[in-house]
């Protein structure tokens, strides 16, 4: 058994190995592209217009108003013929930003930028943030005693021992359906669950299982709900941490959403979490 000190020394020595010099071709490629790339500048305060001849401005404005009024009146006359021409342009839909940055999120709808087999968007209220590309974190962070967060992923299988990931995944592996995964969670000897209960998210049916992490869970011994190689790399790190795990069938593909909180999380944050879940829009990817 290695000590922590041994592991640190070995890892540090190992990290010293390998390349430390960027190839010239990389720098050349960058410097070749720079002249063609415009820098993104901060927005400045609205520019002040210089003083203009106000008489000319008034005449111009009056003329413009008269022309617009005449055109509108002509179109509204009974029996008048539409001037035709191309239809008025419709507003282009604003692209939905992706949850792929880190930090505080302006309120709005975001697309979950994880490697998911379906498109997922959620409406995020003020005060929430994102950590990586598939996590939405509440106003008080994601740590105990009052944090809250939502994560989106897929789960291919569960671990034999959630507190001992090195023991590997259960065999035979969990099947592909919602029922398969929910049964595996509920029947797992190391999982303490309540439910399942039927749910619907954006019209897609699924089930929710509530899990409270057992005594013995800590940052030193996290409880793995899944593992990286199993599709999630998802874990909890506080005994008593509560997970609502939603498993949804989106056009034949399984989506897993874990909405977690702590006993000290406020009712307002829980309501906001529920609102985010209720706002989810799911679109199958053919």
């Amino acid at each position: 058994m290695s000590t922590d000190h041994d592991v640190t020394r070995i890892v540090r020595s190992w990290l010293e190995e390998g390349t430390t010099v960027v190839p010239d071709r990389v720098l050349d490629a960058v410097l070749d592209q720079v002249p063609a790339i415009h820098q993104r500048r901060l927005r400045w305060p609205a520019r002040r217009f210089p003083t203009v001849n106000t008489t000319a401005l008034r005449i111009g404005l009056i003329a413009a108003v008269l022309i617009v009024a005449a055109l509108v009146g002509w179109r509204l006359l009974p029996g008048s013929i539409s001037p035709g021409g191309p239809p008025a342009p419709t507003a282009k839909p604003t692209p939905i930003p992706k949850l792929n940055s880190q930090g505080l999120l302006p309120a709005g709808r975001y697309q979950v930028d994880a490697t998911l087999p379906m498109k997922v968007t959620v409406a995020v209220p003020d005060g929430w943030s994102t950590d990586t590309n598939w996590v939405v974190i509440g106003p008080n962070g994601n740590q105990a005693p009052n944090g809250i967060a939502i994560r989106f992923y897929t789960v291919k299988n569960l671990l034999v021992h959630p507190l001992t990931p090195s023991a590997g995944a259960i065999s035979p592996p969990v099947g592909p359906s919602v029922d398969d995964l929910v049964k595996a969670m509920v029947n797992h000897r190391d999982w303490t669950t309540t439910g399942p209960s039927p749910i619907t998210i954006d019209g897609y049916v699924g089930q929710v299982v509530h899990v409270t992490l057992p005594a013995g869970t800590s940052a030193a011994t996290p409880f793995y709900l899944s593992g990286d190689e199993l599709g999630g790399d998802v874990y909890g790190w506080v005994a008593g941490q509560v997970f609502d795990i939603y498993v949804v069938d989106v056009g034949g593909k399984r989506l897993v959403i874990d909405a977690f909180h702590y006993p000290g999380t406020s009712a307002a944050d829980l309501a906001a979490q529920q609102a985010i879940l209720d706002s989810a829009q799911l679109t199958p990817i053919p």
Partner: protein, 182 residues
């Protein structure tokens, strides 16, 4: 970092940016390689990070924070490269026959494969924390600031990552120990 150089590059001075790119290129590439464990992916991430540095430099409010800011852009580029492809093929390296001992006397040959496997099982999030802390010697609060995440999350990720690496080392040590016992 020379803040005058940063300021001039912020103003659109391409010559100043070229000097910056040369000054930081090696460090960024070294970090990218250690996070991604793939030479081609690391080159792509470094190139993209440098282009992003040029493009977003005017938005950096404090030129004195250039180093941390550039590492943040690099880690984002590594996320993007990691998402773009899952070709985590091992980089094969021919080792000299007389290279069994590391700089501080550690038998790295015995551990290299285990570490490589254990490290590849970690997410990019966890790898970034390990590399910034153990390769660049960044204190944990500076890692948190660089990555824009809470210090508690950094500690948790580092703990999880080191635990995984330790498990990888111990997993290969166990059969040998059993054989020795027999």
């Amino acid at each position: 970092m020379d803040t005058d150089l940063v300021t001039r590059a912020q103003g659109g001075d391409e010559g100043a940016f070229a000097s910056l790119a040369v000054a930081i290129g090696d460090r960024l590439h070294g970090v990218a390689f250690r996070i991604l464990r793939d030479t081609d992916l690391a080159e792509d991430a470094t190139q993209q990070a440098l282009l992003n540095v040029w493009q977003d430099l005017p938005q950096l409010r404090d030129p004195a924070r250039f180093d941390a800011w550039s590492y943040r852009l690099l880690v984002r580029a590594c996320y993007a490269e990691g998402r773009k492809t899952r070709r985590w093929t091992p980089n094969l390296r021919l080792l000299p026959a007389d290279e069994p001992i590391g700089a501080d006397g550690i038998d790295l040959v015995a551990h290299r494969d285990q570490l490589e496997r254990g490290f590849r099982r970690l997410s990019i999030d966890h790898r970034a924390v390990v590399v910034l802390h153990h390769y660049l010697d960044m204190p944990l609060d500076q890692v948190a600031e660089t990555l824009g995440i809470p210090a508690g999350t950094v500690r948790s990720r580092l703990h999880h990552a080191m635990r995984g690496l330790r498990a990888a080392l111990d997993a290969d040590a166990r059969p040998a120990a059993k054989e020795a016992a027999q």
